[in-house]
Symmetry: C2
Subunit: 128 residues, 2 copies
């Protein structure tokens, strides 16, 4: 049977608490997708790095790996750093199929969820 | 009548395209909250800076300003940089009431929306 994994790929930060929302997302997704190994990996400042995470998953027999970039928008990190990393990893682990999901800000329904939350959360001034 | 504004506060990036999702959110929120002036401001690398944005809004008569940090998680930028900026701005513009919404990763319903999207978007392997 094909072993599949989903890697939540986040930027990383110096503050350990920064990763908490990503850990909450990981737990929620893992609970609802028992067919997937769900991991978190970081671009910088936190461990594991994406390369180490992929290497471990491949070693553990995963042949289908999906990378979900948990970034709000696409800049140099997603346009340059990630493709470069993925190219390296695809060469190094040729037996694994590695695909990438769009960034959060490229997903219409997530932009709508954020907009909707702002619409309902920004304080309203009582009419005078 | 009180003039209110909502500032979408984002990190900023070198790549001009990076701001597109935030502009889409701004447009969606402005369309549904005609009672608010909705602006975007950045921590770094893009203009306007938060301080310039607040100064312009105050000059234009806004006395109630809500800052929505469009960051996935809380690290040094939201725990140190933003409070320092807000303290300065509250002193400089004492007549304006400046409040802050939680970061995206602190909002349960937004974490759920992201998780839900991942649950439905990660490829499923056909049973063999």
């Amino acid at each position: 049977m094909t072993k599949s994994a989903l890697i939540l790929f986040a930027h990383g930060a110096r503050d350990a608490q920064w990763s908490e929302p990503f850990r909450a997302i990981r737990q929620a997704v893992a609970a609802r997708r028992p067919d997937l190994t769900v991991e978190i990996a970081f671009l910088e400042l936190m461990q594991p790095a994406l390369g180490d995470c992929v290497a471990r998953l491949v070693k553990d027999g995963h042949t289908r790996i999906t990378v979900a970039p948990l970034f709000l928008a696409q800049g140099g990190h997603l346009k340059k750093d990630l493709p470069r990393l993925l190219k390296e990893l695809s060469t190094r682990h040729a037996a694994a199929e590695i695909t990438v999901l769009p960034a959060i800000g490229e997903v219409t329904e997530l932009l709508e969820a954020i907009s909707e939350w702002l619409v309902s959360s920004a304080p309203r001034v009582a009419k005078q």
